[in-house]
């Protein structure tokens, strides 16, 4: 910006002297002149409008006179032809500038960004469509997953059953072993008992014989 200002002010200086400033014609009352070729339009300065009103006051007329007398030369130069409808070479230059701007903006903005936006729209639409299409694929995958889960479940249950069977068999075996052992011990103990019984019975038998002998002896002392 600063550069631009510098540049513009640089090129302004040499041109400033060539400003044509058509013959300064000081106007006293706001006028709206219409000529055939050009519309001229001038706005009078507030000061003049104030001072030059058709007033009857003497002091104001004095003020008018003095203000005109005091007016610097630059003021007179400023009040000049005001050209609102002043057609000149600016018009074709603006046309050329506009066409240049149009081409340049099309090159750097409208075409590339438009193309980019269209491509992005297309790719997003494509992605959306592809997402819609994959619903069957998703279903298939879900079925696969269900099958896998089912198989795993079957496998696990079979393994569980087997394990159960195995453990049961083991347990039963152990129980059977224990029972056998216990039975064997019982048998042995019973056998022992039987033996002891027989022994005791035997010993008792012999004692019975003795006792009965004794009883006989006692009962029959004379014998």
């Amino acid at each position: 910006m600063a550069n631009m200002i510098m540049a513009s002010s640089k090129c302004l200086i040499p041109f400033s002297t060539t400003s044509p400033s058509p013959t300064p014609t000081p106007r006293i009352i706001p006028t709206l002149q219409m000529s055939l070729s050009k519309l001229k339009f001038s706005i009078s300065k507030p000061q003049q409008a104030l001072t030059l009103l058709p007033s009857t006051l003497k002091s104001l007329s004095i003020l008018t006179a003095t203000s005109l007398a005091m007016a610097p030369p630059s003021l007179a130069a400023e009040i000049e032809k005001a050209a609102l409808f002043d057609f000149n070479l600016t018009l074709p230059i603006i046309v050329v500038e506009f066409l240049f701007l149009m081409v340049a903006l099309d090159k750097v903005w409208f075409s590339p960004l438009g193309k980019f936006m269209d491509e992005r729209d297309a790719s997003i639409r494509e992605k959306l469509n592809s997402v819609k299409d994959t619903s069957s694929e998703v279903k298939q995958l879900e079925e696969q997953a269900a099958a896998v889960i089912k198989a795993a479940r079957v496998e696990i249950s079979s393994a569980l059953n087997q394990m159960k069977k195995e453990t049961q068999a083991e347990v039963e075996q152990k129980i059977a072993e224990g029972r056998k052992k216990v039975e064997a011990e019982l048998q042995e103990a019973l056998a022992n008992l039987e033996k002891q019984k027989e022994e005791t019975i035997k010993s008792l038998d012999s004692q019975i014989a003795n006792l009965s002998q004794e009883i006989v002896n006692k009962v029959l002392p004379n014998a």
Partner: protein, 247 residues
């Protein structure tokens, strides 16, 4: 007498502050022709603003747009929308023209309201929006005329001129007159609105320097935008009109 002198000086100072320059131009001489330098300078600034911002932002477009890119995409969508509603399905080739019209006028108008042009002193005249010079608006309006003639002729060939006697041949003079009133109304509407807006602000500032002009300035911003939109929309409508088939 002293009192009088004092008052005169105060008046003069007030006048210096509130000087309204209408139709004062800063002339450059090119060959035998004169140009309005203040218009050219400001139009260069406007063009530079547009081009530089566009180059900076659109240089590397992202799939997920950044803030600046988002704004530029929004503007482009807006321009496309305007062109599409006015021209119809074949709006594509006209987007640059309509968009440049809208952007150039819009940035010009807003630069007149927002950029402190008055800081730069010219030897004569003053810097303002390029659109408050009749040359600019007439140039744009003539381009619009050329554009809709081109659109009609390239679409239909010489059959395009059939539209002049379209409902009945009685309307021929009016139809021909329309080709002159269209650019005239386009250019004068823009020119008058922008000039009047700037004048109103300047006059109000000269009367009440504080606070009071602010709403008018905002109104000026609003009308500036509206004028740019109207110009672009009407240009698109004229192009669409000359391209549509006869029923």
């Amino acid at each position: 007498m002293n009192v009088l002198l004092c008052s005169i000086n105060t008046l003069k100072r007030l006048y210096d502050i509130s000087a309204v320059e209408v139709g004062q131009h800063f002339y450059w001489q090119i060959g035998d022709f004169q140009v309005h330098a203040q218009v050219l300078i400001t139009s260069w600034v406007v063009i530079a603003i547009l081009l530089v911002s566009a180059i900076l932002v659109v240089r590397n477009p992202q799939t997920i747009p950044t803030f600046g890119q988002n704004f530029f995409e929004y503007v482009l969508e807006f321009i496309r929308d305007v062109s599409k509603t006015q021209i119809g399905e074949e709006y594509g080739p006209w987007v640059p023209f309509i968009g440049t019209l809208f952007l150039f006028i819009f940035v010009s108008n807003w630069s007149g309201a927002l950029l402190p042009w008055k800081i730069i002193q010219l030897p004569h005249g003053e810097l303002a929006a390029p659109t408050n010079d009749i040359n600019t608006t007439v140039a744009l309006a003539l381009l619009t005329s050329a554009a809709y003639f081109y659109a009609g002729l390239s679409k239909k060939g010489l059959a395009y001129f059939g539209k002049y006697i379209q409902p009945t041949p009685i309307l021929l003079p009016i139809n021909i007159l329309e080709d002159f009133t269209k650019p005239l109304s386009l250019s004068f509407r823009l020119f008058g609105n922008i000039l009047a807006d700037e004048l109103v602000v300047v006059v109000l500032v000269s009367l009440v320097p504080l606070v009071v002009p602010i709403p008018v300035m905002f109104l000026g911003l609003f009308t500036s935008g509206i004028q740019a939109l109207i110009f672009a929309t009407l240009a698109a409508a004229y192009i669409g009109e000359s391209m549509e088939g006869h029923h």
